[in-house]
């Protein structure tokens, strides 16, 4: 390494990675993917990985992607909850394609994708 720019490049690359450990902070948006047996069977793992990848690809730092257990609506799995402050949005029957829209419209644009939410299922 012979310049500050090279140092900066390594720092930026690693910031995205170590950001996972800064999760416990207050006030961040949390994306919880239901990962109980029912969720995993319905395809929650590709959904979780899709969130991780999209967040990294779009260089978003103030979001935590985490898992949660079964919330009791197994027929709607994979279920994803997006929590920001006291607002909670519940997405159902998610897949990696839907994840992209949620990241763009909800996480970045701050507008929940209503048609994927549990409210739209009824």
């Amino acid at each position: 390494m012979k310049s500050l720019r090279e140092l900066q490049a390594i720092r930026d690359k690693m910031k995205a990675s170590v950001n996972t450990r800064e999760g416990a902070g207050e006030g961040k948006m949390r994306i919880l993917v239901g990962m109980a047996t029912c969720g995993i069977a319905a395809g929650a793992r590709p959904v979780l990985n899709a969130f991780s990848e999209e967040i990294l690809k779009r260089d978003i730092h103030d979001v935590i992607v985490s898992q949660t257990g079964c919330i009791g609506i197994c027929q709607f799995e994979p279920v994803v909850e997006v929590i920001e402050g006291d607002k909670k949005t519940t997405y159902v029957k998610m897949d990696p394609e839907k994840v992209k829209r949620v990241v763009v419209e909800h996480v970045i644009g701050k507008n929940p994708v209503t048609e994927f939410t549990i409210g739209a299922m009824k």
């Binding site: 390494m1 500050l4 690693m14 990675s17 170590v18 416990a24």
Partner: protein, 595 residues
């Protein structure tokens, strides 16, 4: 991209309680369930809460698992990593509040702390230079080399108010200035990692958990004083620290952060490790330098100070590991930021190694001026088994004790000196009512007698004679005039020894004598040890009315000192008794007393 990071403590404490095995298990179990692309296992440095080790923290949730065993790993992987269900039974109990889980920073142990020198310990993989860079590592060196003159650097360090963390508390900026102004063809930067105080382990933990911060700081110091070569003097008893530091130096060289023409600025600096054999006197600066030179580790008179004639006769600065660990942060965040923490004359934070009779044994970093009460009652969680706090010893064999009546003393250089103790390197040993203060003084003095290098008579002979006086008292042969002799001799040793070892060796004796004179007098006049520690002054006796004649004590006594028939009261022969206490521990009827 890993969505989850499993941080396993790889400090010496957790390693000795099996964290290597836990890392192996994690890697195996994670691979078994096919999560090795999603979850990364990282060996970190010390988290500080050593009493609860081995420690595992899972991010992004920040779940703090304590006292993890290899058998628990499968459950964490299957439940937490695979299904997202935190394994509550393994969490640090203070973080669990009914249904909700508190973050670590809200627990009593961490809430009062402010981690500057320890900021990366437990947060990064010390063997991965890129993780250090990810947390702004080497940015301070970059800033110094491209934007600041050596004079600017010294000014920032001086303005920050940083003082040496190894014991003396000399202002770091002034030390650098003294070496910077001396012209020479060669100057040296040294790091004192010869941590010798019994019970202190902050330097080891920093080198194990964040070695690059010390390397970066030494390069900054070298730039400031005009040196091109550095040495880290570290004791060979710290194998993990040596190994991680060695790897860190090699990585820094490979990344061009050590060596020639760093950042293309023309600045050259390289670093070498020198292993010490663990002699306490080599923590003294002139002895340390003689040892690096390949000579016997003995101090020499000062002046000339090392800033003028140090290593190989060249201008040299020597700073302690913890002092260095603060430097990159001061450069990045500014002198004002650092000076805003702590007290008027003691700026910043200090790491203490909390040990002895305390619940949360471990490493804590607090702003200077935090009271001893906060450290012991809040952070330390108090004294175990409902015992009373009696005193705390700071500064190891060079320091003194703080009695319970002074528990509200702020922990900073000057307040501690004012009550006859000293900051030292930050060892903090807590003692409860079962500790005999004469015995403690003897313990520390025994240490200095063994570690005295023998070069000057006051230290070599004086400490030995002082120890004999203490021995006389604890064996029941003391006379009141011995107390005067102790004071006279101790003062003489302090005034006439050549280096810091001898000058401070009598401190534990003087301070216990000052605060616990009554206890010394009980040993001399009443021939009693109030805490029940000094064996020569104890007798064990069987109370005939309580003894059922079960013969148990007779059977457990290793020297056959107890006689008696079944169902008849037994008796101890004081001439044979070695006062081991086995009979008392074994008696089911509480019939044996120690007095």
């Amino acid at each position: 991209m890993y969505r989850s990071h499993v941080m396993v403590c790889g400090g010496t404490g957790c390693t000795s309680s099996g964290s290597e095995k836990i890392i192996e298990e994690f890697n195996r179990e994670i691979a078994a369930v096919g999560l090795n692309e999603e979850v990364k296992v990282i060996r970190t440095g010390c988290f500080g809460l050593c009493a609860l080790g081995p420690i595992v923290v899972v991010y992004p949730e920040g779940s703090f698992y304590s006292m993890v065993k290899a058998e628990d790993v499968k459950e964490i992987v299957d439940e937490h990593l695979l299904k997202g269900r935190v394994v509550t039974r393994l969490l640090y109990d203070e973080t669990v509040h009914g249904e909700t889980i508190k973050s670590l920073n809200e627990t009593e142990f961490y809430r009062h702390q402010m981690r500057v020198a320890l900021r990366n310990c437990g947060r990064i993989d010390p063997d991965n230079i890129e993780e250090y860079i990810g947390y702004d590592g080497y940015a301070a060196l970059g800033k110094v080399l491209t934007e600041m003159t050596p004079d600017d650097v010294i000014k920032v360090i001086t303005d920050s108010g940083l003082r040496g963390r190894g014991g003396g508390g000399f202002p770091t900026g002034r030390k650098w200035r003294l070496a910077a102004v001396n012209e020479s063809d060669q100057k040296y930067v040294c790091c004192n990692a010869d941590e010798g105080d019994p019970g202190a382990f902050m330097d080891r933990s920093i080198l194990e958990g964040d070695p690059h911060s010390v390397i970066e700081a030494m390069a900054i110091a070298a730039y400031a004083i005009g040196a091109t070569k550095g040495y880290v003097y570290i004791r060979a008893e710290y194998p993990i620290a040596v190994q991680r530091l060695q790897k860190a130096i090699e990585d820094a060289r490979a990344y061009g952060l050590l060596g020639k023409d760093i950042f293309g600025t023309g600045f050259n600096f390289d670093l070498e490790i020198k292993l010490g054999a663990g002699a306490f006197v080599c923590g003294e600066e002139t002895a340390l330098m003689r040892s690096i030179e390949g000579n016997r580790g003995e101090p020499r008179p000062r002046p000339p100070y090392p800033a003028l004639k140090g290593l190989f006769g060249k201008p040299t600065i020597l700073n302690n590991v913890e002092t260095y660990a603060n430097i990159p942060q001061i450069i990045l965040k500014g002198a004002d930021w650092f000076a805003s923490m702590g007290t008027e004359k003691s700026k910043g934070t200090k790491v203490f190694a909390l040990g002895g009779k305390i619940k949360n044994t471990g490493l804590v970093e607090i702003p200077m001026g935090t009271t001893l009460r906060t450290v012991i009652e809040d952070i330390g969680g108090g004294i175990p088994n409902g015992k009373q706090f009696k005193a705390a010893q700071t500064g190891g064999p060079s320091g003194g004790c703080i009695p319970a009546s002074l528990i509200d003393t702020p922990m900073d250089y000057d307040s501690l000196l004012a009550i006859g103790s000293m900051m030292g390197s930050g060892g903090l040993i807590v003692m409860d009512e079962d500790t005999c203060m004469v015995d403690i003084a003897k313990f520390f003095l025994q240490f200095t007698v063994e570690e005295s290098c023998g070069k000057c008579a006051p230290c070599r002979i004086g400490t030995k004679r002082l120890l004999e006086l203490l021995d006389k008292i604890t064996s029941g042969n003391g006379e009141m005039e011995d107390l005067d002799k102790i004071e006279e001799l101790a003062t003489f040793i302090k005034e006439n020894s050549q280096c810091g070892l001898g000058q401070s060796a009598p401190n534990p004796v003087l301070s216990t004598l000052h605060y616990f004179r009554d206890e010394y007098i009980s040993h001399i006049k009443d021939k009693k040890c109030p805490a029940g520690v000094c064996k020569s002054l104890l007798t064990y006796r069987i109370m005939a009315d309580k003894c059922k004649g079960c013969t148990l004590c007779k059977r457990v006594c290793p020297v056959g000192a107890i006689s008696g028939e079944v169902r008849n009261p037994h008796a101890i022969d004081p001439a044979k008794c070695i006062k081991c206490g086995a009979c008392m521990a074994g008696c089911k009827f509480g019939a044996i007393v120690r007095e």
